[in-house]
């Protein structure tokens, strides 16, 4: 993936989140691509987890990803169907959505940049399962064809 031109992953760790900057949930946050420090895709912002502060005002505590997070936002039949499939298909990890603490988000721009601890890139059990069960077994899986 190519690194971003302007904010976000461009300046690596330094966060571009300043007090006072405002965002639209639909435009700037939900369904945006989440990338790690090197600009590699991690997941999409399927939903955000909120908690209440001392004045009762909600603030964002975590970024949620995966079918369990996406299901409620599909609405209607497809929501219940996807949630049901996800519960039965969830490989380990107890069926809840994958969660990334919002404190790790260092950049909100064309993409959301997160500062993930090394090796935690496998946010989804599905990616790991497919890598170990199918792809890794094929010859040449380790080398990028470019």
């Amino acid at each position: 993936m190519n690194p971003q031109e302007d904010t976000g992953a461009r300046d690596g760790g330094a966060s571009n989140r300043r007090p006072g900057r405002a965002y639209s949930a639909h435009f700037h946050l939900l369904d945006r691509q989440v990338v790690d420090r090197e600009g590699r895709p991690v997941c999409k912002v399927d939903d955000l987890e909120l908690a209440h502060d001392e004045h009762g005002r909600p603030y964002v505590t975590a970024l949620l990803a995966g079918p369990a997070a996406l299901a409620p936002r599909l609405g209607g039949l497809s929501a219940r169907w996807l949630a049901a499939v996800q519960r039965r298909m969830s490989v380990g990890g107890g069926g809840g959505p994958a969660r990334i603490d919002f404190g790790r988000v260092t950049g909100i721009g064309p993409v959301l940049t997160v500062d993930l601890p090394e090796g935690a890139a496998g946010v989804h059990a599905l990616e790991d399962w497919m890598r170990d069960e199918i792809v890794a077994r094929l010859p040449g899986a380790g080398r990028a064809s470019g």
Partner: protein, 152 residues
């Protein structure tokens, strides 16, 4: 179900139903049967003319063996398919019987001519194809005449 959900289901149903609408429907009146006969003659003429162009090019040494045998094989398959569909159609009245009889004969002759050139091509007798396919021009004209007559 939300409004959007119902709309999505409707589109999905439409996508499934559509191919089914494409199969051959029954012909009710004599006139409808004549139209079907005309389009059958047209499709058959198209297959014979394809073979005719291929055979003439073979005579001038312009085509490779494998290519012309596939061309003639495809043309024959198309003709047999059209012939089979037409003959399986029930003629609604006596007048249609005459139509079926004349077109049936023309289709039969065309099928024989096409089979002859396809067999020769598959044996590699490419240069002799114009000779083997000498009945093709007549078969093509007969079908085109029938097509014009039945669609008027």
């Amino acid at each position: 179900m939300t409004v959007r959900g119902r709309r999505v289901a409707a589109v999905a149903a439409l996508l499934v139903l559509v191919p089914a609408a494409g199969c051959a429907g029954p012909s009710r009146t004599g006139e409808d049967y004549r139209n079907k006969a005309a389009s059958t003659a047209g499709a058959a003429a198209s297959a014979v003319n394809t073979a005719l162009i291929g055979v003439r090019a073979a005579g001038d040494g312009r085509v490779t063996g494998p290519y012309v045998s596939v061309l003639l094989g495809d043309a024959e398959t198309d003709l047999l398919a059209v012939q089979q569909t037409f003959e399986s159609r029930q003629p609604p009245d006596e007048a249609s019987d005459a139509v079926r009889e004349r077109l049936g004969k023309a289709l039969g002759k065309a099928a024989d001519a096409l089979a002859a050139v396809r067999i020769a091509a598959r044996r590699g007798e490419v240069r002799e194809l114009p000779e083997t396919g000498r009945d093709l021009p007549a078969a093509a004209e007969r079908l085109e005449r029938l097509e014009k007559e039945m669609s008027s």
